[in-house]
């Protein structure tokens, strides 16, 4: 016995081109929707990961020197501003603070770096707190410093590659002629740490004559702490300024949100167009088959049976489009990512488009639901066909 699903399927095959084009329209809408949802999720995850990899949620710097790296690039290391190390204790005493890590960035001009010289930068970190706070940093070889004031260095992956350094090799701080032993090389992280030369804070302070001075303090806040209130209090500290990484995260998200709203609007329009296309296709099909439906009713089919048949045809079209679109989105995720990286002003490291099976199933569910809703009117229209009228119109 032929089931209602089989009849609906056969009906769709009677107009193959039309059915395929309708499925294609729905598939494109599903593809755009899945890719955008995947981008939304992937971008947020990558940005959070990048910020979490920093290990701290707030960075305190001397007033007028918000970004050490930017200062180094713009002023060749001469514009760095310092704060006294005594501030570390007062920040650590705050109830919201879980831990703090003081840092001192120093740089020298190396005339033998590249075509016209370049800056070599060294980040002095506290061996007792920094590696613990930056739990995501893993050693490729070697270990962290043997002594808090040792003339030793741990190199980021790319710094080691560029300098061709391995554990036990030496580094030379140009100009000062100070030799540093490499004791560790870090695994690749995909962050700015890859290009950094880490040294013990006390050693950097001594070598560069900056005893008791710092350029930055990383602050890790307790999970239960009210970060907003703490930030407000920190902003009132004199002579220093606070860069909140949640603020940075929000700024970046605001920057890309305008673009995201536009693209989501396009996706919604694409879905709406495909809904109209489905309704149009099914309505045309119903109009063409009025006599056939009339005969079916004259032979005993009830309005409910006709409604179910047409409704099922709509759902089959939408579900097929959803499957094709979701599969397309899964298959082209990498390509989408390459495209987005090309057009986005700031893209964090890591996967930008995160499309998983759950997301593909979600889109399939949404598209099928759209099919169920958009099939209601054509199905009702078909179910309300009057058999005698349609058969008579054929005879006339």
């Amino acid at each position: 016995m032929i089931g209602i699903f089989h009849i609906a399927y056969k009906n769709l095959l009677r107009k193959k081109t039309r059915s395929v084009l309708t499925v294609l329209g729905i598939a494109l809408a599903a593809w755009v929707l899945t890719s955008l949802l995947g981008f939304n999720r992937g971008y947020q995850n990558s940005l959070n990961k990048d910020i979490d990899n920093l290990g701290y949620q707030m960075l305190v710097t001397a007033k007028g020197c918000p970004y050490e790296a930017a200062t180094l690039m713009l002023k060749g290391g001469t514009g760095l501003r310092y704060m006294n190390a005594s501030i570390v204790d007062s920040i650590a005493a705050q109830p919201e603070v879980e831990s703090v890590t003081p840092m001192l960035m120093q740089a020298v001009f190396d005339p033998n770096k590249g075509e016209s010289g370049g800056i070599s930068a060294y980040l002095g970190v506290d061996p007792a707190t920094f590696p613990r706070m930056k739990g995501t940093l893993a050693m490729k070889s070697g270990a962290w410093f043997t002594d808090p004031a040792a003339r030793e260095a741990v190199l980021g992956y790319e710094a080691a590659e560029l300098e061709q350094r391995e554990v036990d090799d030496m580094l030379l701080i140009p100009d000062l002629d100070v030799e540093i032993r490499v004791v560790g090389v870090l695994d690749r992280t995909g962050t700015q740490d890859d290009g950094t030369i880490f040294m013990p804070l006390a050693a950097v302070q001594e070598i560069f004559g900056q005893a008791g001075e710092l350029t930055g303090i990383g602050i890790k806040v307790k999970p239960e702490a009210d970060i907003a209130a703490f930030e407000e209090r920190m902003y009132r500290l004199p002579d220093v300024q606070v860069v909140s990484l949640s603020q940075v995260r929000n700024t970046i998200m605001t920057l890309v949100s305008t673009a995201k709203v536009m693209v989501f609007s396009i996706a919604i329009i694409a879905v709406l167009i495909s809904v109209v296309g489905v309704v149009n296709t099914i309505l045309m099909s119903v109009m063409e088959r009025r006599q056939e439906i009339g005969i079916l009713k004259a032979m005993g089919a009830k309005a409910r049976d006709i409604f179910k048949l047409i409704w099922l045809e709509t759902v089959i079209l939408c579900a097929a489009g959803g499957v094709v679109g979701s599969a397309l989105a899964l298959g082209t995720a990498k390509l989408t990512e390459v495209f987005i990286r090309g057009v986005l002003p700031f893209a964090p490291s890591g996967g930008l488009v995160a499309i998983e099976w759950t997301l593909a199933l979600f889109t399939l569910g949404v598209v099928t639901l759209i099919g169920i809703l958009s099939g209601l009117y054509p199905s009702w229209k078909a179910g309300s066909v009057r058999p005698l009228e349609t058969i008579r119109s054929e005879v006339e």
């Binding site: 190396d110 005339p111 033998n112 770096k113 590249g114 075509e115 080691a160 590659e161 560029l162 300098e163 061709q164 350094r165 391995e166 090799d169 030496m170 580094l171 030379l172 140009p174 002629d177 030799e179």
Partner: protein, 186 residues
């Protein structure tokens, strides 16, 4: 490019690696011709080499290629410009961290390499630092005796550069000058 080849009007970039051109067998051949095995984490079979063919109009006038070499205090990047026969016409240190950096960068140091080819360097053993019999490589003077290791690294880098250019660009035209060490590749 214009400084090394003032007459040039254009160039082509070639990307090659030992892994893609011949794999392990080629690596062993190149190591034998260099006289020293590739070492360390960053001198490996899959290192991509970027080589430049220099043109004046449609005429090939020479090549430029640079190699990385481990120095005492950091990576040394040795660039050479070659004529179409593989003879050095310019020697240039792109990056160098060394106690003798300033003296190595002086033009007089680089000028000592001009006119040399792989035929000269085949006699130079980068492991012992000796040239047998003494020839043009032995005549290259180290301007910074306190940085002897970096000087030796530059000679090794130049020989590596010449071997790679001969292999990838010159169809091994200098191979007849190569006399394998007893016992084959080290």
């Amino acid at each position: 490019m214009k400084r090394l080849f003032p007459e040039s009007t254009g160039y082509k970039t070639l990307y090659v690696s030992i892994a893609k051109r011949g794999g392990d067998a080629l690596l062993r051949e190149i190591e034998a011709r260099l006289g020293d095995p590739f070492k360390g984490l960053y001198e490996t079979i899959d290192v991509p080499y970027t080589m430049y063919e220099i043109y004046r109009g449609t005429e090939l006038v020479g090549y430029i290629h640079g190699v990385n070499q481990k120095g005492s205090y950091g990576g040394i990047q040795v660039f050479c410009a070659f004529d179409t026969l593989g003879t050095v016409r310019a020697f240039y240190l792109q990056k160098l961290t060394s106690k003798g950096a300033k003296r190595f960068r002086e033009e007089s140091f680089g000028r000592q390499f001009v006119g040399m080819s792989l035929a000269d360097f085949y006699r130079y053993d980068p492991v012992s630092g000796a040239e047998t019999p003494p020839g043009r490589v032995s005549a290259v003077k180290n301007p910074a005796p306190e940085a002897a290791a970096d000087f030796a690294a530059m000679l090794r880098a130049t020989k590596k550069n010449l071997v790679l250019v001969d292999e990838f660009l010159l169809d091994n035209r200098h191979l007849p000058h190569f006399k394998p060490a007893k016992g084959g590749a080290r």
